[in-house]
């Protein structure tokens, strides 16, 4: 059934185009600001098109600030968190979905509660714990709290849902072929779980990339910072913000995610929607 052309369609386009402005403008404005000089950014604040494609801001951001180190920190932490989340969630999700063992329901309820409760409110005891371990001013608390927090619990929940949806016959056939549990998990179930692992990986990566609260608590040295903290470091000694540099750095922190989103829209939407409903 093809929709008939309707005069209302044009009205719809007009309304949507208008409504889209506040959603799109801030991002485009930020990206365009990264090509503007400090003077231009104030001279024509509304302009989306910079006068020239000046790349000076980019050079300055990397040259005068520990931005490269901060970028590297964000990347390597997010990669570790993503990989660990996928592996642990696949294992635990399979265990909860397909195996019976003593205490299973209780442990699963613990995961559910971790999914719903705000891990941030546990910052004090967590801090005490890491202080006892001598891990303040290291990346380890940030990595571990991402992996074993709400994000991780949500990942376990989603992987469990996924495994529950796979037909049991597959495992029975594999048992007949003489595979043990590990073999079934590794050779049969995991190859069927790529989309689910992708979904879990996307929101684990985004949550790690976005994490602000824990770095704020555990890190004090700018070269150790991750991007969210680092973005606020483009100031003069009195705290005045260099906006052209701040927005350039923000663009650099945003761009890879935005490009990945444009390339893999469907996966991003699926991942975030599933995390939004269940988390």
């Amino acid at each position: 059934m093809k929709p008939k052309p309707h005069p209302l369609v044009w009205l719809w386009y007009a309304v949507m185009a208008f409504l889209a402005i506040p959603f799109v403008f801030p991002t485009l404005w930020m990206l365009s600001a990264s090509f503007k000089s400090a003077a231009e950014i104030f001279a024509s604040p509304l302009g989306l098109l910079p006068h020239s494609l000046d790349l000076g801001n980019f050079g300055q951001v990397f040259r005068d600030y520990p931005f490269a180190a901060q970028y590297y920190n964000s990347v390597y932490i997010a990669v570790i968190v993503t990989a660990a989340t996928i592996v642990l969630a696949a294992l635990a999700g399979y265990g909860f979905a397909r195996l019976r063992f003593p205490g299973r329901d209780l442990l699963f309820i613990a995961c559910l509660s971790a999914m719903m409760l705000p891990a941030e409110a546990l910052a004090v005891p967590q801090f005490v714990l890491f202080k006892l371990g001598g891990l303040i001013n290291s990346h380890l608390p940030i990595i571990l709290l991402q992996i074993f927090g709400s994000t991780g619990a949500l990942a376990v929940f989603l992987m469990r849902q996924h495994f529950l949806g796979l037909p049991r016959e597959l495992e029975e056939a594999a048992l007949i072929d003489g595979l043990n549990r590990w073999g079934i998990f590794w050779r049969v179930m995991l190859p069927l779980s790529k989309p689910a692992m992708m979904a879990v990986g996307i929101f684990a990566f985004l949550n790690s990339w976005n994490d602000y609260f824990n770095p704020l608590i555990y890190l004090s040295n700018p070269t150790q910072f991750t991007l969210p903290l680092g973005l606020q470091g483009f100031t003069d000694p009195l705290g005045g913000v260099f906006w052209h540099l701040t927005l350039t750095a923000s663009s650099l922190a945003t761009l890879p995610l935005l490009l990945a989103f444009l390339v893999a829209q469907r996966q991003f939407v699926e991942s975030l929607v599933s995390s939004g409903i269940k988390g």
Binding site: P3, L19, A20, P22, F23, P26, W29, M30, P45, L46, L88, A89, A92, Y94, G95, R100, P102, G103, A110, C111, S113, P118, E120, A121, L122, A123, V124, P125, F127, L129, K131, L145, F148, G149, G152, L175, I176, G178, N180, R181, W209, N210, F213, L216, I217, L227, P228, L231, Q232, W243, T246, L247, S250, S251, L257, F261, L262, Q265, L272, G276
Partner: protein
């Protein structure tokens, strides 16, 4: 042929230890136990102490809680939190639903608009907050510039109490609407077409169809989204902290807790605030569960 072998070989799985499953979940659950479950148990205990990190903890009984009731800073941020949640959650849900209905059409380019409205969800929260902070600068910011053009003097958006809250709510709405919008859109499009067509044939107008059919069918999704959005609103930290530069112009309980715990290192007092946050969250969720029985449509 395979079927014949099955019963005999199926015994094979009987050799499997009943603990096998535990090995699968253990790596995650062990970490969760140490970094999540243990802290949950510790929060109420620490909240009964005076503890400033440098000294060792002293037993305080309910002192911290008694102090909460007389602490103007705490009461102020509790009030701001209530306003923030009451402003953000209903607006988020109503607007997300409205946008979902607008996008529930078959027109060329609908996917493009869906992508545009969703795109802020992918932008890092701090980058988004910084752009807004720049746009809302009192003297040279974009918003006040535009207001000046029509002869209005804009307020100091980020440092004055009610305006900072307005700014935070608006920027968060635009950032996150896309997510709930797509959740609702998915649920709307899963409604069987026959149901809506039958109602239309019976003479129901679009408004009646929405209130009497679409909304009741969506109510389980609506309920879930409401719970998740409320909990999410209570734990917002970075956007508010960045927008208001760590000042107290829109200081919600999360920020108050952070300030007490990690600026003043009053670990006991911060834990009391954390416990209040937990209880508030629990209470709100329970209230919503109670309401659920009233208005969530059951297929049974």
């Amino acid at each position: 042929m395979v079927k014949e072998v099955k019963p005999r070989r199926a015994k094979h799985s009987g050799w499997e230890s009943r603990w096998t499953g535990l090995w699968f979940v253990l790596p995650f659950v062990a970490g969760l136990g140490l970094l999540f479950l243990l802290p949950i148990a510790a929060v109420p205990v620490i909240s009964l102490s005076h503890w400033s990190l440098l000294s060792s903890p002293r037993w305080a009984g309910l002192d911290n809680y008694a102090h909460l009731l007389h602490d103007p800073q705490f009461l102020r941020s509790a009030w701001i939190t209530a306003l923030f949640v009451a402003g953000l959650v209903p607006l988020n849900i109503a607007l997300a639903m409205g946008l979902a209905l607008l996008l529930n059409v078959r027109v060329g380019g609908v996917g493009f608009f869906r992508m545009l409205l969703f795109s802020p969800v992918v932008v890092p929260a701090v980058a988004w907050a910084l752009v807004w902070r720049f746009a809302l600068q009192p003297d040279f910011g974009l918003v006040n510039n535009l207001l000046a053009k029509v002869g209005l003097v804009g307020p100091n958006w980020l440092l004055q109490f009610p305006w900072a809250l307005v700014a935070v709510v608006v920027s968060l709405l635009i950032e996150h609407l896309g997510l709930n919008m797509l959740i609702f859109l998915g649920a709307i499009q899963a409604i069987p077409k026959e149901l809506l067509e039958a109602a239309a044939i019976d003479g129901a107008n679009p408004r009646q169809i929405f209130w009497k059919i679409t909304l009741p069918i969506l109510s389980p999704t609506l309920f879930l989204v409401m719970v998740v959005t409320t909990i999410g609103a209570l734990k917002v930290f970075a956007p508010i902290y960045v927008l208001t530069s760590g000042t107290d112009s829109a200081e919600v309980l999360m920020i108050q807790m952070w300030r007490q715990g990690f600026k003043y290192f009053e670990l006991g007092y911060a834990s009391a605030i954390a416990w209040v946050l937990f209880l508030a969250m629990l209470a709100l969720t329970l209230v919503q569960w109670g309401l659920r029985r009233r208005w969530v449509f059951n297929e049974a």
